[in-house]
């Protein structure tokens, strides 16, 4: 991991799990693989805290354990999965996607599983039913069967998957006897397990229980304990489910492609591309460069009924998509009215390129952006050629090029005419390499999010006294209202916060909202750049 990634991971761990887990996690990231004792020694934390932290990290799928370098007889070694920690930044997006696809029930299911890392189906169903019942009007409650059906739909579309089985240190796993622990360097992929998406049979009937608001905290704990003891009755103990992040990422990628087509062309073209992507969801492997070939006939039949466009019009649209310089769709054959594919990797590369161009434009102006785009297309250009092609006066072109060069967005390539690299006899060409520039920008994004989080923590700390005071007053108001106090008493309590304090609180809230929203939106750029970089690595 790079320095910025380590810093961001530390901040995310601290925000979600506290200082102790942050120390343990950061030490593991920096040192690679460690045994329990080495980890306790290096973090200088008591052993029990280190054990608890490792359990938390493993529960959330961020840490793996396995036989160490000394073989199965040696101590267990632990390793962090770094990208899982960075995924924590994207949790709101996962939850919101589940909501848009499967409603409130789906949203709560994904939220619960994300918060707890892994859960059995029965405990998820019970917790979600209780939460939904709590929000329903008095007298109604959510039936378990509805939650079960939402859960099943999430599993069928592969958004949830079973946690891969792990051979524990002492006992043998269900498949093989005396399996040695797998080496910690090769984690088992969840998809290698044949029953990854198989729903267990559980006998779970009933409805969500409504909590009385006065016993919130205790009822929560009691319900949690009760859920644990009830697990064994449902028949699915030991089968834990986790969120399938890869599936969500494929969905985000498809969304990005569809919205790009819709922006560049029109709504109908984006619907055609959406249909093509939907048809090849199940048949296309995760890292494929393009989808399965689809014939125009199939696409025509699969279009949603609200879009009744004639067959020749569809052909025209497909031709338009193929001819577009963004190359989202490609034609691979003529049978069945024409065989078409969606070029996934090329689409990602184009989206990343658009992101880079947009960044240059917003930071350095449209003429610098023109020079940048020129260099992306023409690869290598001399100073004079840049001025001519970009139609920018020489002095300004120089200035802009040097600014871009100092920011490392543009590189200088020397081509010697003579073997002694004499400067008077060497060509100096400006060039832009898309992949390294994308990596650079990605690191800037990680640094940005780190800065945003730190600023938010700073703002909260600066106004801690005021925030605590306002929380106390809200608690007093709530308890007064519950016991039925008069309006005069309520206004008296409300006036304990003065008007300038109220204004300060309001501006603090506004700042924190802006910082939070910024984190979410920088994460969208992070996702695009990460997908592009991963697609280039998978191709090798």
């Amino acid at each position: 991991m790079t320095a910025q990634e380590v810093r961001l991971s530390g901040l995310l761990l601290q925000e979600h799990f506290g200082d102790v887990v942050e120390k343990v996690g950061t030490r593991l990231i920096r040192s690679g693989v460690l045994t329990l004792r080495a980890l306790a020694y290096e973090t200088k934390l008591p052993l029990d805290l280190v054990k608890k932290s490792l359990c938390v990290l493993m529960q959330h799928g961020m840490c793996l354990f396995g036989a160490g370098r000394r073989g199965p007889a040696g101590p267990v070694e632990y390793r962090i999965i770094s990208e899982r920690i960075l995924h924590m930044l994207r949790y709101p997006r996962y939850i919101y996607t589940a909501k848009s696809l499967y409603g409130d029930t789906g949203e709560l299911i994904v939220e619960e599983i994300l918060q707890r890392g892994q859960m059995t189906m029965s405990s998820t169903v019970k917790t979600v039913a209780d939460r939904l019942t709590h929000n329903m009007p008095e007298g109604q409650s959510m039936d378990y069967s509805e939650v079960v059906s939402a859960f099943s739909r999430l599993v069928e579309t592969h958004f949830l998957q079973r946690c891969p089985p792990t051979a524990s240190a002492g006992s043998s796993s269900s498949g093989a006897v005396n399996t040695p622990l797998p080496a910690v360097k090769q984690p088992t992929e969840p998809e290698e397990h044949p029953e990854c998406y198989k729903l267990p049979y559980i006998n779970l009937t009933g409805q969500g229980k409504r909590r009385r608001s006065s016993e919130d905290g205790e009822a929560d704990q009691r319900a949690a304990k009760k859920a644990k003891t009830d697990d064994s009755e449902c028949g699915d103990e030991g089968i834990y489910w986790q969120v399938n992040f890869q599936r969500f990422h494929l969905h985000f990628r498809d969304q990005a492609i569809i919205s790009a087509v819709s922006c560049k062309l029109d709504q109908t073209s984006s619907e055609i591309v959406r249909t093509m992507l939907r048809m090849s969801e199940v048949t296309t492997p995760a890292h494929a460069a393009f989808t399965q070939a689809l014939s125009a006939n199939e696409i025509f039949r699969a279009l949603p009924s609200s879009y009744n466009i004639a067959r020749p019009i569809l052909d025209q649209y497909l031709t338009l998509l193929v001819d577009d310089p963004m190359e989202f769709v490609g034609k691979t054959g003529d049978s069945g009215g024409g065989m078409y594919v969606v070029n996934l990797h090329r689409a990602l590369a184009n989206l990343a390129r658009a992101t880079l161009e947009s960044v240059v434009q917003e930071r350095f102006g449209s003429r610098s952006a023109r020079i940048f785009r020129l260099l992306l297309r023409k690869r290598h250009l001399e100073q004079k050629q840049v001025e001519d092609f970009a139609m920018v006066p020489a002095k300004e072109a120089k200035d802009m090029l040097y600014t871009l060069l100092s920011e490392n967005l543009v590189q200088l390539q020397e081509i010697p005419k003579t073997p002694d690299y004499a400067p008077s006899r060497t060509f100096y060409l400006y060039t832009v390499n898309q992949l390294p520039t994308a990596r650079l920008l990605l690191q800037h994004c990680y640094k940005t999010v780190g800065n945003l989080i730190e600023r938010r923590l700073y703002e909260t700390k600066e106004n801690k006294r005021l925030l605590e005071k306002s929380q106390r007053i809200e608690a007093i108001l709530a308890s007064l209202q519950a016991t039925g106090a008069e309006a005069a008493q309520l206004t008296e309590v409300e006036e304990m916060i003065t008007a300038p304090e109220r204004q300060q609180l309001e501006s603090l809230r506004h700042h924190i909202n802006k910082l939070d929203s910024s984190e979410n939106q920088v994460d969208e750029t992070i996702f695009l750049l990460e997908s592009y970089i991963n697609s280039t690595q998978a191709a090798r």
């Binding site: 200082d19 306790a40 200088k44 949790y91 709101p92 919101y96």
Partner: protein
């Protein structure tokens, strides 16, 4: 270094190839770039829609809720002044012995020093050496930086039961391997 120019700047390459002229050299750096540099172009405003507001609310709710879940591990909090409670209730930490770190010792404030001296006096009876760095690790803002967990009291009792013999505890120094990591296979020979 200056070449034949004798005071006249002469570059080793042909300046015109890069489009430079003598008079148009960019300014040299006069120190580090400012922390908050001036930006020429104002950044694009944030997207502000229903989706974004909802996701922001989700994020803030999750942040609040994660603090209450059991996954949020708190460091050991102080549990009162050990001078006033019976000494046997004070749990022993399973301390991993570490090298003396003189730089860390210098950072201890005077208040910490008094506490440390008090603890050292008490601990001498038990035969363990208190490590200052444990205080640092816990964040020295707490009044009584004392470790305390119920599991450790049980561990303490186990240790005491084992030592039902005539050997005086502080004649033997506990090695690095004592107490810690008993779950792992002991692959290092004990001497």
């Amino acid at each position: 270094m200056a070449g034949k120019g004798r005071g006249i700047a002469a570059f080793t390459f042909n300046i015109e190839a890069l489009g430079l002229t003598r008079g148009s050299m960019p300014e040299t750096q006069r120190g580090p770039t400012p922390l908050f540099p001036q930006i020429e172009y104002k950044p694009v405003p944030l997207k502000a829609g229903e989706d974004e507001d909802y996701m922001r609310a989700l994020k803030q709710e999750m942040r609040g809720r994660m603090k209450d879940l059991p996954f949020n591990i708190k460091p050991h909090a102080g549990k009162g002044d050990w001078n006033r409670l019976p000494k046997e209730l004070k749990p022993q930490k399973k301390i991993i012995r570490k090298k003396k770190d003189t730089t860390k010792n210098a950072k201890i404030s005077s208040k910490d020093k008094e506490e440390v001296l008090n603890k050292l006096d008490e601990l001498e009876k038990k035969g363990d050496v208190k490590s200052d760095e444990e205080d640092e690790a816990k964040g020295g803002k707490k009044e009584d930086e004392e470790e305390g967990e119920e599991e450790e009291i049980e561990g303490e009792y186990d240790e005491e039961l084992e030592e039902e013999n005539d050997y005086i505890a502080n004649y033997f120094e506990d090695g690095d391997d004592y107490g810690g990591g008993s779950d792992d296979n002991m692959d290092e020979a004990t001497y």
